[in-house]
């Protein structure tokens, strides 16, 4: 008994021939079909996905070689000039904030770690201090010093990588490898301290996981003895280069007002002339005891952001020196029960990461798991500015402007 089998679905973009149903023909679709094939859902989409005279769409990402992670940007181009952009986020969404709600307070540290995978320690720092506020814990001074020391090392690693990326987006092949050498040394010494190269999982509620050990100190001393000259000479490859300076200066200018309107923080804000650094503005940890400068620049362009980050590397080296000099003795963990049950309440805490203010807002309901942990990520804030900065620039500059804001897609998509 033959049963009627349902017709197999046709391959995408084909239809059956009218003469012979066994023949598949390719659909005769319009060549210049708008990139999302659905009808526009909002007015903004309708406006963006209507092409003007001589314009075309260019779909950049999520696999483009230089979109810094998995960002997709739909560009509307007029020749090589960008008219409008439509960024599409969410390709790296892992639901970290939801995962955190189903984990112990201790376990959340490993969950928030991979958010900003370039500078993981700061992703831990903000939630951990928020929990400490919830629990009303006093962190030992030695632990605070170790936190600052490792955090500043991580900041240098992040800025070194920024330098390489920025140069790579401008077409220079060499700086990315030189800066990766620096980053690798830092990351290796952090591995000697924390046990992992990238997702450190090092900070604990009330202290840090392990004390300074001999291996870390020897690696650190070895690197510090040549860090300044090495980084200076790495920077010297580009920052006087005429091609580099002409391409980066006057590009993607953010004035102070715009920066404040976009809630920019960190180096991107300081490059516009606002000396706002959380380490000085709302001092936390042991930063009030340390002596360091907040470098600022007034130009607000890509070159200013680049040079400012290079300045910050030097300030971080100063901080590391002072930390090593003043490192007190004592415990590295506060006395805490294994199972944490903070009283119901809420706490906000923020730290100055390499990209800006990295914040965490934790709500406790009295159980051993956080009721809610909201992560405030600076990359997401800075990426908003791309929409205002890109239009009017050339295609070649889109990547440069995006790189100069230094977003990390892990933090943007959470």
């Amino acid at each position: 008994m033959a049963t009627e089998t349902p017709p197999r679905p046709l391959p995408h973009g084909t239809h059956r021939s009218a003469d012979d149903p066994h023949v598949l023909l390719e659909d005769d679709y319009d060549f210049y079909e708008p990139i999302p094939p659905y009808p526009p859902r909002t007015e903004r989409e309708a406006e963006f996905y209507t092409l003007g005279d001589g314009e075309m769409f260019l779909n950049m990402g999520p696999q483009h070689p230089s979109t810094h992670g998995v960002l997709r940007v739909v560009l509307k181009l007029d020749g090589e000039r960008v008219v409008d952009i439509d960024p599409v986020l969410g390709y790296l969404h892992r639901g970290v904030e939801k995962l955190v709600e189903n984990a112990d307070y201790h376990q959340t540290i490993s969950q928030v770690d991979p958010l900003e995978y370039i500078s993981s320690l700061f992703c831990e720092w903000a939630p951990v201090t928020a929990y400490e506020k919830l629990l009303d814990v006093e962190v030992p001074r030695r632990a605070e010093y170790i936190r600052v020391l490792s955090g500043e090392l991580n900041r240098i690693a992040s800025h070194a990588l920024f330098m390489g990326w920025f140069a790579l987006d401008l077409g220079g092949l060499t700086p990315i490898l030189w800066s990766f050498i620096e980053r690798d040394e830092i990351v290796e010494m952090l591995a000697a301290l924390t046990g992992q190269r990238m997702l450190f999982n090092y900070f604990r509620i009330g202290g840090v996981n392990g004390d300074l050990n001999h291996e870390f100190m020897s690696r650190l001393g070895d690197w510090m003895s040549r860090a300044v000259s090495q980084i200076d000479s790495n920077i010297g490859l580009l920052n006087e280069n005429e091609i580099f300076v002409r391409r980066a200066s006057g590009l993607g200018i953010v004035d102070t007002e715009t920066a404040l309107r976009f809630c920019m923080t960190g180096s991107n804000l300081r490059a516009t002339g606002v000396p706002f650094d959380l380490r000085r503005a709302h001092p936390y940890s042991i930063y009030p005891e340390l002596d360091f400068d907040i470098p600022t620049r007034t130009e607000g362009d890509c070159l200013a952001r680049y040079l400012l980050r290079m300045e910050e590397i030097k300030q971080s080296l100063r901080i590391i020196d002072q930390c090593l000099e003043r490192m007190p003795d004592g415990p590295i963990m506060a006395k805490l029960p294994r199972l944490l049950r903070p009283r119901p309440g809420r706490a906000w805490s923020a730290v100055e990461g390499p990209r800006g203010v990295y914040g965490a807002y934790a709500i406790s309901d009295g159980s051993d798991q956080p009721f809610r942990l909201k992560i405030h990520d600076p990359s997401f804030i800075h990426l908003q500015a791309v929409g205002a900065l890109l239009p009017g620039n050339l295609l070649a500059d889109t990547m440069v402007i995006m790189a100069s804001l230094d977003p990390v897609m892990g933090g943007v998509d959470k």
Binding site: L58, G171, N241
Partner: protein, 459 residues
């Protein structure tokens, strides 16, 4: 029979067919030559220019991939060393065979055509680019007497054929059905056409000085002048090169040539951080390989033409003492037999002895192998030296290749250092700076020629 045939692998089947075929063809060829050898030779001699052209084109097309392999390897290794990496070090000595292996890999990869691509244009674009790159080498004088064709419009031919590259790039960019490719193709069109003008204008001053467009003559003019007896009359020092008579022209030519070859800092057509791979985004397999080869052959040719025009071509930077060291093998008589039979043996033993005697842990056969290698190196060096002294074309080729690969090193060095310029900077640089500068160069040169001529021959 059929089962045996099926058991053969694909190379086996190919050999099974090819070997009998080749045997038959060779036999036929031998018989033909034996019967009609003299007549064939006569015909060939009668049509010598055509034969020379075909031979030169064949040799150049065959030589192009090896040159590209060498330059690709240089690029990989030099940039790696500048990046503080080691780079290729696994295939061959110091990884030198890696680019060859890459070439073989490219041959084996799938040759992919996108669905909506214009298949014919898509297929022919790499061919056009490669042919343009390889054929412009036809007029290059590599050494005295070692050039494909020496005609009076050599420089013009060079620029004309070299400019054809842009047609291929544009074809590839247009036919790929990809917006990145399209942008790359259009960028290459804009860039190469813009830089063609200062490139050509910068050598006009040189042409005024030289009074000819023949590349061979231009090289001869930069060298030493000998009388009939072989004695040096004048010149021969590197100050005779056109780079020192036309410094501004040389600078403009170098910059424009970099842009012409799509090299950093003007590699906008394949800017990987902007438009993924430019015109080559959709290409794969050997078609991509042709683009890749063409790029590196272009580097070689641009270096070579710079050498020919401005750096004296095959001429040594100092006047060479005109000695000759002629060895007549017949003069040795029966001694030649002993020479051929005994000298390698004795040389090997003599050179192996120190390894065996003074290093106690060396096995005898290791010492022999080392001695043999050392003897080969020394003998090869001696023979090369003899050839260098005795044959003009060997000396010329050594100097020509040395200068050319020095310039290739410069290109690679720049790629390792410099970031990329933007398209509007590129254009404004060409039109606002290079073009006026090359016109100025032309004007100054013409003025100088007129003034010096007037001073020398006052009316």
């Amino acid at each position: 029979m059929a089962r045996t045939w099926d058991r053969l692998t694909i190379p086996g089947k190919a050999l099974f067919v090819l070997i009998p075929l080749l045997a038959v063809l060779t036999a036929g060829l031998i018989i033909t030559i034996a019967l009609f050898g003299q007549q064939i030779l006569d015909i060939l001699i009668f049509n010598l220019p055509i034969v020379r052209f075909v031979l030169a084109a064949t040799v150049l097309l065959l030589l192009a991939p090896p040159i590209a392999f060498v330059i690709i390897y240089m690029e990989m290794k030099i940039i790696a060393l500048m990046n503080l990496r080691i780079g290729p070090d696994r295939v061959g000595p110091w990884g030198s065979l890696l680019s060859t292996v890459h070439g073989l890999k490219v041959l084996m990869k799938e040759d992919f055509t996108p669905t909506r691509a214009d298949a014919v244009v898509f297929t022919w674009a790499p061919v056009v680019v490669f042919a343009a790159a390889a054929l412009s080498a036809l007029v290059l004088p590599f050494a005295p007497g070692l050039y494909g064709q020496d005609f009076n419009l050599g420089l013009l031919y060079f620029f004309a054929i070299g400019g054809m590259t842009v047609v291929g790039l544009l074809m590839g960019g247009w036919s790929s059905f990809n917006k990145y490719s399209l942008l790359g193709g259009l960028r290459s069109a804009a860039q190469i056409i813009s830089y063609e003008i200062p490139l050509t204008l910068s050598v006009v001053g040189l042409v005024l000085l030289a009074g000819t467009l023949s590349l061979n003559t231009i090289v001869v003019q930069q060298g030493a002048v000998y009388d009939a007896a072989g004695n040096l009359v004048r010149g021969g020092w590197f100050l005779d090169w056109y780079a020192f008579r036309q410094p501004l022209g040389f600078l403009i030519f170098a910059i424009a040539a970099t842009a012409e070859a799509n090299r950093t800092p003007f590699d906008l057509t394949e800017a990987d951080s902007e438009i993924v791979a430019g015109f080559a985004t959709e290409y794969s397999g050997m078609r991509f390989g042709f683009f890749f080869f063409a790029e590196y052959i272009n580097v070689f040719i641009i270096s070579a033409i710079t050498t020919v025009l401005f750096l004296g071509g095959w001429n040594a930077p100092f006047p060479a003492p005109h000695i000759s060291w002629i060895i007549n093998p017949g003069a040795f008589g029966i001694g030649l037999l002993f020479l051929v039979a005994l000298v390698p043996l004795i040389g090997t033993l003599v050179l192996a002895a120190p390894f065996y005697l003074f290093r106690s842990n060396t096995r005898w056969w290791v010492a022999l192998i080392l001695g043999f290698l050392l003897f080969n190196v020394i003998a090869g060096g001696l023979i090369t030296l003899w050839a260098y002294i005795n044959f003009d074309w060997v000396a010329g080729l050594v100097w020509f290749m040395g200068k050319t690969f020095g310039l290739v090193f410069l290109f690679v060095w720049m790629r390792g250092t410099l970031p990329r310029v933007r398209i509007d900077q590129l254009m404004s640089f060409a039109w606002k700076w290079l073009l006026p500068a090359s016109l100025l160069n032309l004007f100054v040169t013409a003025l100088a020629i007129v003034v010096i001529d007037a001073l020398r021959h006052p009316r």
